[in-house]
Structures are given as structure tokens and as C-alpha cells.
């Protein structure tokens, strides 16, 4: 299929320029929301267009754009997508529309800057997923912090300054070591193209050091225990839109980084560090699950649940070598990575939806405290049913997208080691416990507090947002085949690459 239009560049720069344009408008101008929404929708349509023209049977990079950017260092403006990055790009464009809708009437302070920041952020995030040059990737990776820093800092809650500076410095800490690792790789290979880095010959010590440098960058982003502490703060203080973007997309960048950089560039080190990585993932899944259980703040609870669910993603990625060595079959490893990828996409929908639900409650009562609610089902029946679906999905109910990813990962891990699979599966119970317990305390029971009685049910705008998300959750849950088919060739070739030791 021939497709000449530079669609990836368009998806990156159109929202960035559009966002800058909107941010410079007069704040009283009434059109900014419409303009922002149309930019986001155009971007979403182009990502769907990319999906239509995407060749599902090829593991190669598609829609490749290649220009020389900084010739002295062989840095190129190199973009392209495969089955791993395209779903994440579509998730990004999709979520941005929801976020802009969610901020429609709620943001009264500097709305032009709010909309503008989200659009710029969208473009940069697509850039991270589409960049195939390590320098370009790094530029997008860090530039992403700037709009998010402003979003949390300007429109956040009480403690926003602390949260946003913590978020910024924490993420920067991780990525700086990645910078050193990338520069080192450049010194070894003489190019910045990620695909050439995949083939770099490295000895074990180099691999281990590079792995650790990458690990810090991506572990902070995912976030993995014990570098997760920025996440609850950032989530709690961020405005609803910020939390949604953080949970739905930014956390995925860590996972994406693992399979785009860590695993293929330093496969032997990844294999060497399998056990520590699995242990860290299990701690995230189990321990953080318990932490989530005792939260009294709804957003914090969902934030911890995100960490716990992202644990499945890292578990899926890093059991690859273990599964292979115990079954001698790379196909099972493919299944694990696919499960982790599905888990990323599905978690994007579910956590986004849950944060939006909490945001809608917060817009009405201005509290996120679980104890300030109770019996919400009575005044808000539609809301209650939507949240029910998302809570169930979060708990991994079969038929929802939450089930597919976790099931695939557990299935794979089972082949590696029974007890790890047992521990991981245990959290399906734990996840159900904290999600449903929160749901019970917020939604069910008698209405005790006066303000809750007067809550208005979802407006049509909110209803629309949640219906679309509910549709996606069910779609991926009931019919994940198209998604998995799209990823399959790319993940297959990735695993094939992993099977060749560099030593």
C-alpha cells in the first residue's frame, strides 16, 4: 500500500502548532474550545486513517519519514510506526479528545492555556511513540514534561506545586541516565537510529550498565516499585484531564520504552536481570495492591491501582526469557508480551475512565474523599452503572478489556513458574477487593450526607464521554483479536530478535 502523505509528522506537529495557536488566543474568546476539539478530532481521524492504511501482516516500520536533522552527529528526523506503537498512538489521539471534552465547562482559569497545553502534549506524546531515532525520541521524551509540569502546576489541587516539581524532577532523574546511555550507544555505533542500536554488539558489562540506565528511566515512568512515589502525588493534585493523560498514556511510555529500547538493545542483560525485574513487578502487583486497599482518597486509590496493574505489564515483558528457558518455545514468550501490550491499552481505557468518573464527582462536590460520598447511586443512577462497568473492568472481569491482558500474562507466567503466576493471580482478588470496596462505599448504601442527595446525574457531555469509553472497554474485552493481530507480526519479530544473544 502506498501512502505518501507524511501522516506521522502531521499528527505530531498539527496539534503542537494548533495548541500554541490556541494558547496565544484571548482568554475570553469563546471559540477556543471548539477549535481545540476540532484539532483533536482531526488528529484522531488521521490516526484512524493510519490504521486503515496500516499493513497488519508486516513487522516493518511503516509510514517511515526520514530526513537528516543534525548531520554532524548522524541525528535524523526518523519517524515510523509498527504494530507496537500504532495502538498507543491511537490511544493517545482518542484520549486527548476525551480530555478536552472533560475540561469543557470545568476549567475557568486560563482555558486557552489549558486546551493549548493538552494539544501540545498530545503532539509530543505521539512523537515519543513514532520516533525511531534515539535523539529524537529523547527530545520528545523530555519535552513532554514541560506541558505536564504546567498542567499540574496551574490547574492542580491544594498541594500542586510540590506534586508537579516532584513529578518533574523524578522523571528527569530517570531520563538523564538514559541520555548518558544513549550517548554511549552512539559512541559504540556511530548512529542514533534505534534500529541500528538494536544490532549493536555489546559485551555483558556494557549491557548491564545500559540496562540499568534504561531501567531507571522507564521504571520511573511506568512506575515500578520503589520509584513510584511521584505518581500518587501527581495524580491526586493534577486536574482530571491531567490524571487521565498521566494514567492512560504517560505510564505506557515506560512500558513502550522497555520493549522498544531495553529488551532489543540489551537482551542478554534483560535476561540476566529477569529475576529482580519479576520480583519488582510482583511487589508492585501485590504490595501496591494492599496499599490501594487502605486509601481514603479515590484518586489515590486509582493511582495505586494503576501501579499495580502496570506491574502486570512489566511482568509480561520480563518473564520472556524465563518462559523460553522453561518451555523452550518462543511462542509462549510472544503471548506474554502481547498480553502486556493489551494490558497497556486496556489500562489506558479503564484508568482513564475511572479518573474521569472521580473527576465528575469532584466537579460536583469538590471532594475526593470516599467517606464524603455514599449512596451516589440514588441521585446518579446512570453514573453508578457506568462506574460499575469500569470498576468491574478494573477488577479484571471476563468480558471486559481488563481481563484479556491479565489473563494472557498470567497464562504465560504460569508456564515459567507456578508460584509467580499464583501470586500474580492472587491480585485479581485483591484488585476486585479494593475497586469494588471503593465502589460500594461511594455508590451503594443509604444516602447520609445532604450534598450527595442533591447531586445531578451525568450531563449529556459526560454521558457521551463515558459511553465511548465503555464501548472501548467492552470491545477490547469481547473481541481483542484485531488488536492482537495488529501487534502480532511486530512482537514476533521482536521476540525473534531477542532469541539471538549478542554475546
Amino acid at each position: 500500500m502506498n501512502f505518501d502523505f507524511p501522516i506521522l509528522s502531521f499528527m505530531i506537529w498539527f496539534p503542537v502548532l494548533g495548541g500554541i495557536y490556541i494558547a496565544t488566543q484571548k482568554r475570553t474568546s469563546g471559540n477556543i474550545k471548539i477549535e481545540a476539539l476540532s484539532i483533536a478530532i482531526i488528529c484522531f481521524i488521521s490516526s484512524l486513517l493510519a490504521l486503515v492504511y496500516f499493513d497488519n501482516n508486516s513487522a516493518n516500520m511503516q509510514f517511515v519519514e526520514r530526513y537528516s536533522w543534525i548531520p554532524v552527529f548522524n541525528i535524523e528526523y526518523l519517524l515510523g510506526v509498527d504494530g507496537i506503537s500504532l495502538p498507543l498512538i491511537i490511544l493517545t489521539t482518542f484520549t486527548t479528545i476525551l480530555v478536552i471534552c472533560a475540561g469543557w465547562s470545568v476549567i475557568s482559569e486560563r482555558p486557552h492555556l489549558y486546551m493549548g497545553s493538552f494539544l501540545v502534549l498530545e503532539g509530543i506524546m505521539i512523537g515519543v511513540f513514532a520516533a525511531l531515532d534515539a535523539a529524537l525520541f529523547y527530545v520528545f521524551w523530555e519535552a513532554m514534561l514541560i506541558p505536564m509540569f504546567l498542567i499540574i502546576g496551574i490547574w492542580g489541587g491544594q498541594n500542586r506545586v510540590y506534586a508537579t516539581i516532584k513529578f518533574f524532577l523524578y522523571t528527569l532523574l530517570g531520563s538523564l541516565l538514559m541520555l548518558v546511555a544513549l550517548l554511549y550507544l552512539y559512541g559504540e555505533t556511530g548512529v542514533f537510529s534505534i534500529e541500528s542500536m538494536h544490532n549493536a554488539q555489546l559485551d555483558m558489562i556494557e549491557q548491564k550498565l545500559i540496562f540499568l540506565a534504561f531501567l531507571l528511566a522507564f521504571a520511573v515512568k511506568v512506575p515500578m516499585w520503589p520509584v513510584h512515589t511521584w505518581l500518587p502525588d501527581a495524580h491526586v493534585e493534577a486536574p482530571t484531564g491531567g490524571s487521565v493523560i498521566l494514567a492512560a498514556i504517560m505510564l505506557k511510555m515506560g512500558g513502550y520504552g522497555f520493549i522498544r529500547l531495553s529488551l532489543p538493545i540489551v537482551p542478554d542483560a534483560a535476561s540476566y536481570f529477569t529475576i529482580p525485574m519479576v520480583v519488582l513487578s510482583l511487589i508492585a502487583i501485590v504490595y501496591i495492591g494492599f496499599v490501594a486497599l487502605v486509601q481514603t482518597d479515590m484518586k489515590k486509590l486509582i493511582a495505586y491501582s494503576s501501579i499495580s496493574h502496570m506491574g502486570f505489564v512489566t511482568l509480561g515483558f520480563f518473564t520472556v526469557f524465563w518462559v523460553q528457558s522453561s518451555t523452550d518455545n518462543w511462542n509462549d514468550a510472544v503471548l506474554g508480551i502481547e498480553g502486556a501490550m493489551v494490558q497497556m491499552i486496556s489500562h489506558g481505557f479503564i484508568s482513564g475512565a475511572l479518573f474521569l468518573c472521580v473527576g465528575f464527582l469532584y466537579d460536583r462536590l469538590h471532594t475526593r474523599n470516599i467517606n464524603d460520598y455514599g449512596g451516589v447511586a440514588e441521585p446518579m443512577p446512570y453514573f453508578a452503572s457506568f462506574m460499575m462497568l469500569f470498576a468491574m473492568a478494573n477488577a479484571g472481569l471476563p468480558g471486559t478489556s481488563g481481563f484479556v491482558g491479565e489473563f494472557l500474562v498470567i497464562l504465560t507466567v504460569f508456564k515459567a513458574n507456578f508460584w509467580i503466576a499464583f501470586l500474580a493471580a492472587l491480585t485479581l482478588i485483591l484488585g476486585a477487593a479494593y475497586t469494588l470496596w471503593m465502589y460500594k462505599r461511594v455508590v451503594f448504601g443509604p444516602v447520609i450526607l445532604q450534598p450527595v442527595k442533591e447531586l445531578a446525574d451525568l450531563s449529556s457531555r459526560e454521558m457521551l464521554i463515558l459511553s465511548v469509553l465503555a464501548l472501548m472497554v467492552l470491545l477490547v474485552g469481547l473481541w481483542p483479536a484485531p488488536l492482537i493481530d495488529m501487534m502480532h507480526p511486530s512482537i514476533n519479530s521482536l521476540v525473534e530478535h531477542l532469541s539471538r544473544s549478542k554475546l
Binding site: 527530545v139 523530555e142 519535552a143 509540569f149 502546576g153 548518558v180 550517548l183
Partner: protein
């Protein structure tokens, strides 16, 4: 080479000297800062034009090998002239705002520029010293110009005494090198020693003294004591001038002395530079966090930046020199813009960082540009400051000092905090009562916008300048 050719090569300097005399006369006749400023800028523009017109294609030694004209030198001179023009325009705005008739500022700046041009082109210890003294004396006078301020007097005193000490140390070092090598030409001061010879010890001692003087002029730890006081005590336009062009000249001095003169001793000075770089990065970034005075904060940030600059020299390779030149060019742009922001702030004259509170409410564009500037200083992409750091780090990793690169990135992480704090003040805080004015439109504010846009554009398209720096270094024979 005959005399006419020699004179053609030194023509930009000659032009600047004669035009400075005219500016002096104009200033005597009419005490008007606008007029003096315009004439001074014209003088610099004329020099700049000639620098472009006579851009050398290869190194040329003239006037009995005391003066070298090579592509690197001309590139640095062009940057010195451009940043001085920018600094003079900002300075003019500031003095108009203060309603002080300090037209000497422009004259002293021109004399300093003459000193810098000679320093950059020096290829003989004597020319180095002469250029440096012309530069330093003008700067001492500039700092002392604010007659009514105790802080300025203290700063000038401190600057002068320590500066004179550094000059003395430099002379001492030079005399040792001369004694050991029997030559004043930079080409030969380092070459005469044979290993194990008594002369080598003398030369290493000379090298140490010269490095102390370089460290003082660059303002790197442990020779940084004057930087915060002078930056704080001098009036903002003076600090602005001080933070840009003289840093380029000081870098040129370091570069000429170390890379040309003492290249054979590189394994000795690399170790010393590492110590300077590591301590500057650590101290500059950590102490800057505690500052509530904006100028003092920037002074410590300058110390940290100079530490990064020195890391480029540590590579002692053509790539490392190119990285340093790129770094110093970008830094001079950022440093000037940072002080210009203080000049342009609408409320009052104090240098407290509180003045940035709530700025974004009434001055969205101005604060957006300061945001670009601060992120660039912190080294966040896609701004020029990021590529400057990138370039230096790449070279130092290629040389094999991986730990130094890791240390440097951790220091810049610490440094990010205090830049973020300015952004926090602008965007997240409510304005004080008297912070509600907006920035008035003036030539300086337009220039500030351009200055910051340049930082953004250099961040998006750094390739051209990088390629240029690399080529200059190569054809100059390093």
C-alpha cells in the same frame, strides 16, 4: 607577508579602536545616552561587518607572530560583537528606565570589546596579557560605576583586588613558561621541555599558575568567590554585559593557552580541569538553590554553566573544543536574556525572585519567553541549552570519562530545581499587589523576544551551528 596584508588582517580591531575614540568625543560633546549608545552600536556593527568581510579561511600569524587570525577566532569575535550589541541595547533600556545618565557604560563596554578582540586573537603571552588587562580594567570600572551603592563599591573592590591577584598569578605563570622555554609565542612555550628535565617542572608550575588565572576569569570553583558579589553588586546592565561577552573571551583565552600553547601538557591540565569542573558543577548548582536574589542565583548558575564548559575542554579533542564553543555561544545568549528579563520586569528595581510572582497573569508572552529561557538553562529539550549540554556530554563520553558525564547530568538535575522555581513563581503563584503592570513595549523587549526565539530555533535546528563550530575548529588546525 608585507605590512599592508598584516594591517588588513587586523583591520576590524583598528576600526573599532578609532571608532571608539569617536564615540569618546561624541560622549564628551553631548552627554546623551541614546546618542552614545547609537554611535557605539554603529562602531560595533562596522567591526562586525569587517569581521564578516575578512573572514579567514586558514590561520594567519601576523605582527611577528603576536597576533593570530583564524576561523575560530573570527567566529568568537563575531559572537563577542553580536552579544555586545545586544547587551548595549538592553543596557540603554535599563539606564533610560533608571533615569541615570551613565553614558560611560557604552564607552567602557567598547574598550572591553577591544580587549576581548585582542585576547581572542592573541598568539603571544604578551598579547594575552594586554588584551586581558584592557578587558579587566574596563570591567572593574563598569562595576564601580554605580557611585551611590555600597554593594557596588564592595563588589568593585572585591573584583579589582581579586582580579589584580589573578593577573599577578598569570604573569608569574607566564614568566615561568618563558623562563623554561625561552619564548613568548604560544606555539613554542610548551614544546621545549623534554621529559625528566628540570625545565618540565618549571613549565608544570607555570601551567598551574596560568590555570588559576583562567579559572578566575571564567569564575569556576574554587576561584569563584567574586562572581556572586559582583553579579549582585553591579547594576543589572553591567552584570548582563559581564555575563556574556567576557565569558566568551575568557573561554578563548583558556582555549588558546591550553589547546595551542600547552597542548603537550594536556594530560596534566585535563586532571586539573576535571577538578574545576566537578567542583563548579556541584557548588554552583547546590548553592543556587538557596538564593532568593535573582542575580545571585544566576551568578551561581553561571558558575555551574562554566563547569559544563570546562568539561568540553577536558576532552582535549577537536570535538570537545567545538562542543565548548557551541556551549559558550549558547550560554552567552541565555545569560543575556536572563538578565534582560530582570531589566524588563515592570515593577521596581529590586532583584528578588519574588518579582516574578504571577507574571504570567498579565504578561503571557513575556513569561512564555522566560519559560523557554529557564527550561533552556536547565537543559530540557527542545531548547538550545539542551543541545549544548548534549554536545559536551557526547564528547566527554567519547573520551572515556563516563563517570564525569553521569556526575554532570546529576548536577544538572539539581540545577533544574531553581530554574523550575522561577517558572513556578510566574505560572503557579498569584501576583503581588504591585505586580499587575504589563511589560512596556520597547526595542529592548522586542530584542528579548528575538533573543528567546533564537534559543528556541537553535533548539529545534542546532545542526547548522554545530556543523559550523566543528568545521571552524578543524580548519583552524586543532
Amino acid at each position: 607577508m608585507n605590512l599592508v596584508d598584516d594591517i588588513l588582517i587586523i583591520l576590524p580591531e583598528i576600526t573599532l579602536v578609532s571608532l571608539t575614540c569617536i564615540v569618546l568625543l561624541v560622549d564628551v560633546a553631548r552627554k546623551n545616552i541614546t546618542l552614545t549608545c547609537c554611535v557605539a552600536i554603529l562602531a560595533l556593527l562596522a567591526t562586525l561587518g569587517q569581521l564578516f568581510a575578512f573572514f579567514p579561511k586558514e590561520p594567519n600569524l601576523v605582527f611577528f607572530e603576536t597576533f593570530i587570525s583564524d576561523p575560530v577566532g573570527s567566529y568568537l569575535k563575531i559572537f563577542v560583537c553580536v552579544s555586545s550589541i545586544v547587551a548595549l541595547i538592553y543596557g540603554h533600556h535599563a539606564y533610560q528606565k533608571y533615569k541615570t545618565n551613565s553614558s560611560e557604560f557604552f564607552l567602557l563596554a567598547l574598550f572591553a570589546v577591544i580587549g576581548m578582540l585582542f585576547l581572542i586573537s592573541a598568539s603571544n603571552l604578551l598579547t594575552v596579557y594586554l588584551g586581558l588587562e584592557l578587558l579587566s580594567l574596563s570591567l572593574y570600572a563598569m562595576v564601580a560605576m554605580d557611585k551611590n551603592s555600597n554593594l557596588a563599591a564592595e563588589a568593585a573592590m572585591k573584583y579589582f583586588v581579586l582580579g589584580a591577584l589573578a593577573s599577578g598569578v598569570l604573569l608569574f605563570g607566564m614568566s615561568m613558561l618563558y623562563g623554561a622555554s625561552g619564548s613568548l609565542a604560544l606555539e613554542s612555550i610548551g614544546t621545549n621541555a623534554s621529559v625528566g628535565d628540570g625545565k618540565e617542572v618549571v613549565q608544570i608550575f607555570g601551567l598551574v599558575f596560568i590555570l588559576v588565572a583562567i579559572g578566575f576569569k571564567l569564575g569556576v570553583v574554587p576561584f569563584h568567590m567574586w562572581v556572586p558579589d559582583v553579579y549582585q553588586g553591579a547594576r543589572t546592565p553591567v552584570t548582563l554585559f559581564l555575563s556574556a561577552a567576557p565569558k566568551i573571551a575568557a573561554f578563548a583565552m583558556a582555549f588558546r593557552l591550553l589547546a595551542t600553547g600547552l597542548a603537550d601538557f594536556s594530560k596534566d591540565w585535563i586532571l586539573m580541569l576535571i577538578v574545576l569542573a566537578v567542583s563548579s558543577l556541584a557548588l554552583g548548582n547546590i548553592v543556587a538553590i538557596a538564593q532568593i536574589n535573582y542575580k545571585r542565583m544566576l551568578a551561581y548558575s553561571t558558575i555551574a554553566h562554566m563547569g559544563f564548559l570546562v568539561i568540553g575542554l577536558v576532552s582535549a579533542s577537536s570535538g570537545g573544543y567545538a562542543a565548548s564553543i557551541f556551549y559558550v555561544s549558547v550560554y552567552s545568549l541565555m545569560g543575556m536574556a536572563a538578565f534582560a528579563a530582570l531589566i524588563l520586569l515592570p515593577n521596581g528595581e529590586a532583584a528578588s525572585i519574588d518579582r516574578f510572582k504571577g507574571l504570567a497573569k498579565n504578561n503571557p508572552l513575556f513569561s512564555f519567553f522566560i519559560l523557554i529561557l529557564m527550561f533552556s538553562m536547565a537543559g530540557i529539550p527542545p531548547f538550545a541549552g539542551f543541545w549544548a549540554k548534549w554536545f559536551v556530554l557526547k564528547e566527554v563520553i567519547a573520551t572515556g570519562y563516563l563517570w564525569l558525564a553521569v556526575f554532570a547530568v546529576f548536577c544538572s538535575l539539581i540545577g533544574a530545581f531553581y530554574y523550575l522555581r522561577i517558572i513556578k513563581f510566574m505560572y503557579f503563584d498569584e501576583p503581588n499587589k504591585d505586580n499587575s503592570d504589563s511589560v512596556s513595549n520597547s526595542a529592548a523587549s522586542v530584542l528579548f523576544n528575538l533573543n528567546c526565539l533564537t534559543i528556541l530555533l537553535l533548539g529545534l535546528f542546532p545542526g547548522l551551528l554545530m556543523a559550523f563550530c566543528t568545521r571552524m575548529i578543524l580548519i583552524s588546525g586543532f
